[in-house]
């Protein structure tokens, strides 16, 4: 049973560029959330997708956007990259909107902005 898979594992981008990160949820899960973990910090909630719509959003600028596909996989897009966007980006999945279902995390994508 495959867990949450994320691609790519590592990515290096230049300031001002755009990046797309991908996530496939755990089998049987239909809700995807994205978190940003800066060095030395805990993960910080970016947004959650359910039924192909953004349901909840954290305190992140509009440069951060996402999408969920009919097969429940998801993408995180970040435009106009800043040095401060360098972080580990974690995707998490759950069932339904998961009020009682703990999040299952992928191993993350390490983004470095130079």
């Amino acid at each position: 049973d495959a867990g949450v898979t994320q691609s790519p594992t590592h990515l290096i981008k230049t300031r001002g560029q755009q990046v797309t990160l991908r996530c496939s949820p755990k089998s049987g899960h239909d809700t995807v959330s994205w978190y940003q973990q800066a060095l030395g910090q805990g993960p910080q909630f970016i947004f959650q997708y359910y039924e192909e719509e953004e349901r909840q959003r954290g305190n992140f600028p509009d440069r951060f956007s996402g999408h969920q596909f009919p097969n429940y996989s998801s993408e995180l897009n970040v435009n106009a990259l800043l040095l401060g966007d360098s972080a580990l980006y974690l995707c998490a999945s759950s069932s339904g909107q998961g009020e009682s279902s703990p999040l299952h995390f992928g191993n993350g994508t390490r983004l470095t902005v130079t």
Binding site: G42, P43, S94, P102, N107, G108
Partner: protein, 112 residues
Amino acid sequence: DQQVKQNSPSLSVQEGRISILNCDYTNSMFDYFLWYKKYPAEGPTFLISISSIKDKNEDGRFTVFLNKSAKHLSLHIVPSQPGDSAVYFCAASDTGFQKLVFGTGTRLLVSP
């Protein structure tokens, strides 16, 4: 504004002894609290949770205690094992298990 705080960046314990990891929160609207464990190069793994209507929840070697009046929770690991060495994150939510607010983590080292 750090709503969930883990004030101990690291903790060292000998194998077989008890590990106690602490977490404080400021938002009284939080109604679910969770602990996640994270190994290097892996994503966080769910460990145990507790809702605000309880003050204790046990799962094998892991017990979480919640003190709502003090806005404090703790994770007890008994007995500690070297494989427990990892970073432990406390997380809280006011929307069930979703939109988690994480602490900064405590690195636990269990030595043989």
